[in-house]
Amino acid sequence: MTIQELDAIRAKKKDLIEVRRVIREQGEKLAEKTGYRKQVLVCGGTGCTSSSSMKVIAQLEESLKQLKIEDILVVKTGCFGLCALGPIMIVYPEGAFYAQVTPETVKEITEKHLVKGGEIVKDLLYQGTVTESGEIIPFAETPFYKKQMRIALRNCGVIAPEDIEEAIAAGDYQALEKVLTSMTPDDVINEMLASGLRGRGGAGFPTGRKWAFAKASVSDVKYVCCNADEGDPGAFMDRSVLEGDPHSVLEAMTIAGYAIGAHNGFIYVRAEYPVAVERLKIALKQAREYGLLGKNILDSGFDFDIEIRLGAGAFVCGEETALMRSIEGHRGEPRPRPPFPAVKGLFGKPTILNNVETWANINPIIVKGAAWFSSIGTKSSTGTKVFALGGKITNVGLVEVPMGTTLREIVEEIGGGIPNGKTFKAAQTGGPSGGCIPASHIDTPIDYDSLIAIGSMMGSGGMIILDEDTCMVDISKFYLEFTADESCGKCTPCRIGTKRLLQLLTKITEGKGESEDIQKIEELSSHMKQSSLCALGQSAPNPVLSTLQYFRDEYVEHIEKKVCKAGVCKALLTYHIIEDKCKGCTLCARQCPVKAITGTVKQPHVIDTAKCVKCGLCMAHCKFNAIERI
């Protein structure tokens, strides 16, 4: 394919994409030019497909057929971000945002709204877009979207990821065109350095420097790798990019190949992401067909191709040297560095490895320039960061905000606060390698350095919100169970250390903690941090250390008073019946699986604490709130 042909595709479908980006009035005019009266975008990301968005699409197409409506385009997109309200469907040019759509409601929407002269079905909209006076506001103005700035996710939820022409029209491959026609490899690297982009996988190493090292290494063969082994539980940013805009990653890897002098790339992706893998395969096939991968790309004489390699479920393979061992077909065990991969990486050759979100930032940096990119965010952390917001928060989903946005803005404004009237206790960032940010630090700006300063880390972008019902000792035990399970076993500090830490934490949650345990935890953690081989072991103690820093009282209460105030640690709880409130209805006694509750009808009952297994069924069933948990 030539550059002219690429431009022609872009021109052909530009209006079609633009309708989805502009506001109503302009959109309506534009829509007339496209030949489609309306466009219906349905989320086909993992979150929404799990809540049956495929059935919604099938029903939509069926309804349109029945009503003989032919001037409406149905587009299956990637993630819109507001996963809690899935399946989501947006109708353009109105920008009507329908939430929790079902095959039944989609019928109603087709009959009332999508027919000629139809009107928006207000009751079925995301209620955040309907004001108290009944007016409909664009979803981009709702608190969830307003504070966001979408750079890495620019095309997610906008284009059909399985159609390369939509991707091209939305701006993908524009950076590749610019690089191949008007930039030298050094220009590309200098642009990356000037942008200040830092690795979005967690460590925050400057991307430009990584590329410069690899370019400086002399070798006949070099490799470009993409880390899509998103193992951090509760993080799904990378998956959403792959599902929503896979071409942005392919394009960026090709640009990197040009910059460092590599002709082969590998994408290492989790096998647990079937939708992402499928979309990547389609994207690769189409990119080859359109001559955007393979030999002589865009007539420039530059060759580059990419292969997919599937992971098989090992958290440690997110570590760069382990990931490369795994691509080579071995046990994914890390090795000491140096030599760094930029010198000696995959198959012993100079290699650069960046994570999916980092790759997704390359196109805008090249197209709009490093100066534009570095004007966003803070001085040392430029650009935006995508977070997967989860846990005890109203708007569970994917958000992208400029670096330096405060945690309060994310939780209270974008996230919509804590549900069920509970209070915010802490935010966990960085997953099993990170730590907790307590309520007292809720005004901390989120950037690489501020997070490290308060004992957490950016990590890949998982952000789990915890409320008063979460026990901090239990949550650090949860992370230690994870790291103990995922430790590859190669180095002793991590293999033994994670097990011993977990033992100590288990002891505390079981009410067997002793006062010297906290000191033991701190000593062991310090050894692990200093002597483990890779980041997994070095950072495994972080969840424990940061909760000890901010929630030491809870540990002390567990140990000294044998109390778990959050009511999570079973061994520390006892259930009692409050005599005055008990009506003797016998419901609890009938529910109790171990027959620990005795008493006669209309007389207060009693729980035998020795027999009780603390399942909580009695408390859940009591209609008189007569059962208390201490």
Binding site: S50, S51, P233, R309, G313, A314, H330, A388, L466
Partner: protein, 165 residues
Amino acid sequence: MKECKAFCGTAEQEQKLKAVIEESRSTPGCLMHILQEAQGIYGFLPIEVQKIIAEGLGISLSEVYGVVTFYSQFSLNPKGKHRISVCLGTACYVKGSDKLLEELEKQLNIKCGECTPDGLFSIDSCRCVGACGLAPVVMIDEDVYGKLTPEMVKGILDKYREEQA
């Protein structure tokens, strides 16, 4: 080495596997790919299958076994007809997925990682299927069940039992 259940692979399966080995053996780093395909063919990776792969690639059985046991996706034991996978990722955990796992274990009278004697169900835990908006989540085969409570577990299992009967 953990004892595997009696192996009864068919000649057809072996033929398929050998074709996969032949096709990929020249690609560097092909072992993982072959193991993934083999697990697709047999449902699990008993020692007999690992031997075929080791011989086909001309590498030692211990190397193959080392890789198989390193990655959690590879299984040495057969799985149930319906594979239940409880998400124990952080978002699901804080919303009580551990209680779902407990309930499943109680209902089926097996532990996580095991298969029921009739071969109908097996339970595993997994780390984040990415449907955090629906937490807590359980996957049965390809279907995702979200926003579950322990009380809902029995009804879901019964649905699969009825299908069987």
